[in-house]
């Protein structure tokens, strides 16, 4: 483990930024933190988390897949990708770090999504242990320890210092570059910090939320639950929950005719939208209840069933604070899961 003083942070950032673009949460003009490219003078935000999750570093909201040029009856296919550059994402929280594992199991299984894979290869994730979890946090529900964040490098922040620990080869390399700016240290301060975080975690209002009722093999148990009607009753079918979610990964592929060629791009999509499953021949999910159910069943049952029990929710709490009608996965878990115990 290595440490540096908080005062030297800008020098550390400059060192990281020297060979790879550095992105970190920065307070925007509305006081909300946004991942921003670091440059001299940019200050790391003290906010717990960003409104938009860091998934967009690897799975951007919109990216070009392929371009076509057509002439008469012939088509030319062009791969628009250029070599990705190395980048470092600093300040990722434990929940979001876990979300990359959830996304990896979708994009990196055969056949590998090369667009995502390339960014994963070029990106280094530096996580920071939480210090001030808030009422909407429930990462513990999914076995995530905010005091022990994953990622290539984990960082703990105390009042005056930052403690760095590498977890992977990529992380090792990054720390080597910072060798002059950091010094070797023991992990006592970190252990104390972890204890402090854990004592806060147990006081959180959602500390007792359990996901045990869900998981593989529960499809039929919950699919026809009458509670879905009530839960989805006032859903306005927007995509806020999906778009702020760090693990939602559905996308759409569309063509855009630029007038001098066709760009085929992909962009985030939401199962909450009515035309998500609409085909020329019909629509398997006719009402908002079915779409609403799909989202939560996917996170709590379908995904774990396919991925060895791993839930596709990391308890980051973004949907809790952002849903226009305050309907969210916690309410769903309590209502649907709670009824199942009876």
């Amino acid at each position: 483990m290595r440490k540096c003083s908080l005062e030297s942070i800008d020098r550390v950032f400059a060192a990281i930024n020297a060979d790879a673009s550095l992105y970190l949460p920065v307070d925007g003009d509305d006081g909300k933190a946004v991942y921003t490219k670091w440059e001299d003078g940019v200050k790391w935000s003290g906010a717990l988390n960003t409104v938009r999750s860091p998934k967009s570093f690897f799975f951007p909201q919109m990216e070009d897949l392929v371009q076509f040029r057509t002439e008469g009856k012939t088509i030319e296919v062009i791969d628009p990708r250029k070599e990705s550059e190395d980048f470092v994402v600093f300040g990722v929280r434990a929940c979001d770090a876990k979300s990359f594992e959830v996304l990896d199991r979708v994009f990196l299984v055969d056949p590998v999504d090369s667009y995502y894979a390339s960014r994963r290869e070029h990106g280094v994730i530096v996580t920071v242990a939480c210090t001030r979890p808030v009422e909407t946090c429930f990462c513990k529900t999914f076995g995530i320890d905010p005091a022990e964040p994953a990622g290539d490098v984990s960082v703990w922040k105390t009042d005056s210092e930052l403690f760095w620990q590498s977890n992977t080869e990529k992380g090792e390399k990054l720390l080597e570059k910072l060798a002059d700016l950091t010094e070797e240290c023991t992990d006592e301060a970190v252990a104390a910090q972890k204890e402090k975080i854990n004592s806060v975690m147990s006081r959180l209002p959602l500390a007792d939320l359990k996901a045990d009722a869900f998981g593989a093999g529960k499809t039929m148990k919950f699919f026809d639950a009458p509670e879905w009607d009530e839960l989805s009753e006032s859903c306005i079918a927007c995509g806020t929950c999906t778009y702020v979610c760090p693990t939602c990964q559905c996308y759409d592929i569309k063509d855009f005719n630029t007038g001098n060629g066709v760009i085929r791009f992909r962009c985030w999509d939401s199962c909450m939208y009515s035309e998500f499953t609409k085909m020329s021949a019909g629509q398997p999910r006719l009402t908002q209840k079915e779409r609403f159910r799909q989202r939560f069943m996917h996170k709590l049952v379908y995904y774990p069933e396919k991925n060895g029990g791993l839930f596709s929710c990391v308890g980051c709490g973004r949907c809790l604070s952002r849903c226009p009608i305050s309907m969210n996965i916690v309410k769903v878990m309590k209502t649907i899961g709670g009824k199942a115990d009876e």
């Binding site: 003009d29 909201q61 001030r132 009422e135 569309k254 226009p324 305050s326």
Partner: protein, 332 residues
């Protein structure tokens, strides 16, 4: 702090359910925390007593739900409407979006709704409870031993700070006293933007609109956006894009959306309330309202049922678009 209480509303709803006037109640349901309130339909008195809530965080405008719920429910629906919500209600009626006979409006006075983001700014995050006490909110957080007290008026949502009317323009029954149309400062911010140079305005909007994630929350919550199928959802429109590819598409979505509700927008402010990225979308709608007032005479959408909206109306001597710019403001 609201002047009426949850219990008053439950009593009213229970008696109307009991005597068969209405078959269900459209109201607000309490959530996980004191501030995350969900619009909900209640069918029985016990449901009301268990889950119904009314307080400083019941900002959600329930009028749009009448479009779908009146089709779904047998019998009349009791809906609690705050003064600003009644404008949306009238506007929906003007556009024949539901059957007036199927709604039973109980007008409720509103002292302005709190914005949880403002509470967090003043009291810090990690909020474990928020309760009203007189004209103050008592806020406890995970990190402070002592509760923090803030003036309710200091955490009002922007739309409530600039409240346009405390008068109910539609109701079957009123709880408490009706208020007056207010002379608000709601156009001040628009005027401030108008006074900027075009470069400043461009920079302002470029920055704001670039935050847009195209979640469609503003559109879907908007009581004026009730098209069965939106142009932005129609694959053959060529603009059915789920993500804004660049700043052009960000602008197009918001200009077109604001234009489509121009003259019909009652300025209820729901778009700005729900925006996960805190984009001040009401400033687009208010620009249209201000322009309409300036160009064609004062018009408040929803003030009365059946009024002819300015964009489906004209006079022979309307202003020419070229003359608009002669009236002032700055150009490059």
């Amino acid at each position: 702090m609201q002047k009426i209480t949850r219990d008053q509303l439950i009593e009213k709803a229970a008696s109307l359910l009991g005597n068969g006037t209405v078959s269900c109640v459209l109201g607000w349901e309490k959530g996980e925390f004191d501030y995350d309130v969900t619009p909900a339909l209640f069918e029985t008195e016990s449901e009301l007593r268990e889950k119904f809530v009314f307080g400083d965080f019941c900002g959600a405008n329930l009028s749009k739900y009448l479009v779908s719920k009146t089709r779904k429910c047998e019998g009349r629906i009791l809906v609690f409407l705050k003064p600003c919500d009644t404008y949306s209600f009238n506007q929906l009626l003007t556009e024949h979006r539901f059957d007036r006979e199927k709604a039973y409006v109980v007008g409720i006075p509103c002292e302005g709704m709190a914005d949880i983001e403002r509470v967090k700014e003043l009291c810090g995050d990690g909020i474990s409870s928020v309760t009203a006490d007189g004209d103050e909110l008592v806020v406890t957080t995970l990190y402070d031993d002592e509760p923090v007290r803030v003036k309710a008026e200091s955490v009002l949502a922007e739309r409530c700070v600039n409240c346009k009317s405390k008068k109910h323009v539609a109701y079957d029954e009123l709880i408490g006293e009706d208020g007056e149309v207010l002379s608000s400062a709601r156009f001040d911010e628009v005027a401030r933007l108008e006074a900027m140079t075009p470069d400043e305005r461009f920079a302002f909007w470029q920055n704001e609109l670039s935050k847009c994630i195209r979640c469609n929350a503003c559109r879907n919550v908007c009581p004026a956006c009730t098209c069965e199928r939106c142009v932005f959802d129609n694959p053959s429109s060529g603009v059915e894009n789920k993500a804004a590819a660049n700043s052009f598409e960000e602008k197009m979505f918001h200009i077109i959306r604001a234009f489509h509700v121009a003259g019909r927008c009652t300025d209820c402010g729901e778009c700005s309330r729900v925006c996960p990225q805190n984009i001040p979308l009401h400033l687009l709608n208010r620009k249209f309202i201000k322009d309409i007032d300036d160009f064609y005479g004062e018009y408040q959408a929803g003030a009365e049922v059946g009024s002819r909206a300015p964009l489906v109306n004209y006079t022979f001597d309307d202003l020419e678009p070229g003359e608009v710019f002669e009236r002032g403001g700055q150009d490059a």
